[in-house]
Symmetry: C2
Amino acid sequence: MKIYRARYGGVCFGVKRAIEMSLTAAGKWKQVYSLGPLIHNRLAVEELKKKGIITTNTLNDIKNKKVIIRSHGIHPRLLHRLKKQEYEIIDATCPWVRKAQRYVEQLISEGYHVIIVGEKDHPEVKGLLGYGGPHSEIYSERMKIKHKKIGIVPQTTINYEALNQAVLHFIDRVLELKIYNTICKATILRTHEAVRIAKKADVMIIIGGKNSANTTRLFQVCNKYKPSHHIESADEIKVEWFRQAQSVGVTAGASTPKEQVDEVVTFLKKKFRRKKSIP
Amino acid sequence: MKIYRARYGGVCFGVKRAIEMSLTAAGKWKQVYSLGPLIHNRLAVEELKKKGIITTNTLNDIKNKKVIIRSHGIHPRLLHRLKKQEYEIIDATCPWVRKAQRYVEQLISEGYHVIIVGEKDHPEVKGLLGYGGPHSEIYSERMKIKHKKIGIVPQTTINYEALNQAVLHFIDRVLELKIYNTICKATILRTHEAVRIAKKADVMIIIGGKNSANTTRLFQVCNKYKPSHHIESADEIKVEWFRQAQSVGVTAGASTPKEQVDEVVTFLKKKFRRKKSIP
């Protein structure tokens, strides 16, 4: 069976950078605390813990005052609190997310009502809304807006489909619409490549944490073209997925380590070494 | 036969205002000269001529230095020339077009590359491009843009379809997109109502000069729903259009005087007084 492995699937620049910064810090201080998982991937988080990077959801757990801000960024109020309480901060906010936060602030200062297009409970979105304050809200299809000046900032990892929909929602309802396109290159490359592969492969495997939003979206996009399966590791793969399949495409979300993709590809190669297709 | 007459078809606010301003000026100076037809309608232009409003394309024709700027507005270079040569100017630029011109200037001053969405040879568009200067151009599907900051200003009388298409063209190609929605209310109401009527009527009649761009667009929109006919006056109406029709919708472009719509409706009423439908 032919395997198409995505080049742009897997851990993105921002997550990779956050892990490297955290490992350096853990080397220096033995233990560092990440506010929420550094990477939306259970297995990877366990590995990091062994190296001194501990995931927590509350400041009370942090014994040595060494805290990591992960790639998603945080609410400015929390950042302010950390500074005031003299935490040692490893700010691993993805530079593209930092830019998006600045654009939100700028739009507010220019008098726009800011709409964030993204997932309601995503930490990046919560941070962006924090920078927008009372003059910002998350996009929903049913929203009614009475503002004449609307600014739009998308979550860095959403698809253009979602951004386009939001823009068309407002275009005939407002006088002025200013959009900062903060969708990151990694997201675009990953999505485009996944579609390209899904068009030619018979089956798609998308690897990533079940709690990873961008992996779920990648799965949804691929599933429009071919039967697709969202897995966390190779042991979830079922032989019946490949009945009559001649080829399989493999890609991964922004928070899936290379080793997990390797593992899946190795498994598929072994399993289907001799068979051209499964009867 | 049932006749649905549009409420929002016919001469728009800007054109009506320009005619009134010109009539007042003609009353004062006997003759005034309009740079291009005040209204894209042959019959109406002939009527205006009798009242002292003369259409011309060249300043040389203007004997008494009394000049009308029609609702479409003009290129700022020409306006400058008129002022310098001490013409008496009746500036009947539609207030909504004037606003669009100001938005173009503002976008340029903020460092945007400005895209005008509209018809290449339309006088309003030519004027808007004049205010944009070298940092502006008209939208075309095949354009390649290397600017990071794009400003979009639509011609006041285009459909949202055209604006939406242009916006989606740029959204994934630029960092920053600022849109002033200068499509005027009259255009929106006229289009929406025409669609509503075209959905229920069996045949559509759209009245307006063959050289009127907005009438042509109105025809195209209606023609998507029902067989439609773009006419200038009642004598173009053919009986065969109404075979098996139970109802007809009548609307008109932004440059069609009320009298011409009256004439068509009266004609239809007379013609089909007794017949429920034409066999």
